[in-house]
Amino acid sequence: MHWPSFFFLLFGGFACLFAVAVVLASNIVRMAFYLVLSLAATSGLFFLAGADFVGAMQLMIYVGGTMVLLVFGVMLTSQSPFVSMRTSSGQMLTALVLGGTLLFVLSFTAFHVPAWQPTHRPAVDPNTPLLTATPIGMALEGYRVDQLDQPDPRIRQGMSGYLFPFIIISVHLLVVLVGAAYLARAKRRST
């Protein structure tokens, strides 16, 4: 038995199962709970792939942060406890068509990009941890250490890292934070 495939199917199966459960559940906190399980199973897939940093990031941001925010929003806005939401069949149908189309496009792409086809590279040595955070940090600073041996200089120029998008996103976040602080600030009475 090939154990990595077994665990891949296990985590992938859990992720899909709980994603379906999110759609089918009617209680909003249960939905959130299933969503947490689905996202946690996804982070399991990242750990399985050896991308420890991305996996921990998934746990930290999606499972930890987003879930807490979601549950806060849900609980502070619902009028009575255990509100159950019924979706009409029309909405269900629209969602099914949209979701199905997206799924088709994504899986079609995934199976037709040559660089994404399964390779038969040997598994990494599991005893020593991979440097997973360093290359990502270097790429955000503008050095794609994984593209240094790119033979074509024209392509290598285009692989100069993600410093520009990183800065744009940081400024964006700063604006959002300033806006949130402005909205949430205590209103002073002018007496």
């Binding site: 154990w3 709970f33 947490v36 930890g64 807490v68 255990f82 020593t128 941890p129 440097l131 955070a133």
Partner: protein, 409 residues
């Protein structure tokens, strides 16, 4: 999981089944399974037994601080079996579920919390050097531990919501607000040792401080000294210990998010709480107090290193583990001491402590420590001493990254 351990287990199995005329290949699945159960079993025992000991310690210390004796009878002297008796009592209690509760979520909430608390231990090393005592050696260990411990708050929210009781819901809300906001200064504090060592690998972080206590990051410079205490405050708050235990304010909220819980489910919440206390204490000990490298490097003075043979190396690791656990238990004792000394804060005071004190202090100390590190990169002990050669040359353990072979990330 450690492939060496699995392979040696398979080797042992091979010898055993050899008596029956069978053979087990080196990479057989049995060794991997046994190794996995071994690690998880050891960690589970550590969490469960330490919870027993800490609850006894808590009752004893609370008694002494309040001029009482604490438990004295069960188990002969000192009442050292008191927690076991408590556990038996909890086991026989009726498992109540309030009418109108969301049954499924109500039942599953304690286990979510306990799993998150236990999961953090997977990446925490107990000894370092060449063959670290760690269930899964991660390159981003610090980050993983913080991320997994952040999930614990979800069990509190689930428990508070599913109980269908306003006390529980209020308690859960307060606790969630507190834990989530304290993660910000906690993260800022943790970044400082990571910056000094240049790695998020917990094994590497501990080994960077090897040698005498002068190499500890606690005493690296004045800024790290301050930031350790900020870390300790935030860690106490993020595991909901008094004086930050608003969520369980008996006077207003009955018992907070676990008002409706009884018996074994209730005790799972407490196992999770004590497990997290131990986890943050271990993390603090590794990040700031040298981890398994004691105030006096007894192991290396006695020559207990892997260079001198596996038995000596193993003994050295064992000594380091005892050392680390002693430091962690000391930090837990301080948490207990603080709990029975300071009165409980109000919710506004809790948030003021976080946003107006801990976060700015942590940010300023981070800047200070970064400047200090720039100015005096190889000095330790408040810049008075030169860092030892071995510490400076220690490189982050890593396999040859896949990217050097030309593959994509």
């Amino acid at each position: 999981m450690d492939r060496d351990v699995a392979n040696s287990l398979n080797f042992l199995l091979d010898k055993l089944t050899g008596l029956l005329g069978r053979s087990v290949p080196e990479d057989h699945v049995a060794g991997h399974l046994i190794a996995a159960f071994l690690y998880v079993g050891l960690l589970l025992h550590l969490v469960a037994v330490s919870a027993l000991v800490f609850i006894w310690m808590e009752r004893k210390i609370a008694g002494r601080i309040q001029d009482r004796l604490g438990p004295t009878r069960v188990g002969g002297k000192f009442g050292w079996l008191q927690t076991l008796a408590d556990g038996l009592k909890l086991l026989t209690k009726e498992d109540l579920t309030p009418t109108g509760a969301d049954l499924f979520l109500f039942r599953i909430a304690p286990y979510v919390g306990f799993c998150a608390s236990l999961g953090a231990f997977i990446a925490i090393p107990f000894a370092g050097q060449d063959f670290p005592f760690v269930a899964q050696h991660l390159n981003v260990g610090v980050f993983f531990v913080l991320a997994v411990m952040g999930i614990e708050v979800f069990s509190v929210i689930l428990a508070g919501y599913a109980s269908a009781s306003k006390w529980s819901l209020f308690g859960a809300m307060r606790e969630a607000a507190q834990v989530v906001s304290y993660e910000v200064p906690l993260g800022l504090c943790v970044v400082v040792p990571v910056m000094l060592a240049g790695s998020m690998d917990l094994v590497h972080l501990g080994d960077k401080q090897q040698g005498w206590f002068t190499n500890w990051y606690l005493l690296h410079d004045p800024f790290t000294f301050v930031i350790f205490w900020v870390y300790f405050t935030c860690a106490t708050a993020s595991v909901n210990r008094a004086p930050f235990d608003l969520a369980e304010a008996e006077s207003e909220l009955v018992a907070g998010f676990h008002t409706e819980y009884s018996g074994l489910r209730w005790s799972f919440f407490f196992m999770a709480e004590y497990g997290s206390m131990l986890a943050v204490s271990l993390l603090g000990a590794i990040l700031f107090l040298g981890g398994w490298h004691g105030p006096v490097p007894v192991a290396s003075l006695l020559g207990l290193a892997w260079e001198n043979g596996p038995v000596w190396g193993y003994l050295g690791n064992l000594l380091g583990m005892v050392n680390l656990l002693a430091k962690a238990v000391l930090l837990v004792t301080v948490m207990i001491w603080v709990r029975w000394t300071l009165p409980r804060l109000r919710i506004d005071q809790v948030l003021t402590t976080c946003l107006k004190y801990c976060t700015p202090i942590a940010a300023a100390m981070f800047l200070g420590a970064a400047t200090w590190h720039m100015a005096m990169p190889d000095r330790v002990f408040a810049g008075l001493l030169q860092a030892p050669e071995a510490n400076r040359l220690l490189a982050e353990p890593s396999a040859t990254p896949r990217l050097q072979k030309g593959g994509n990330l």
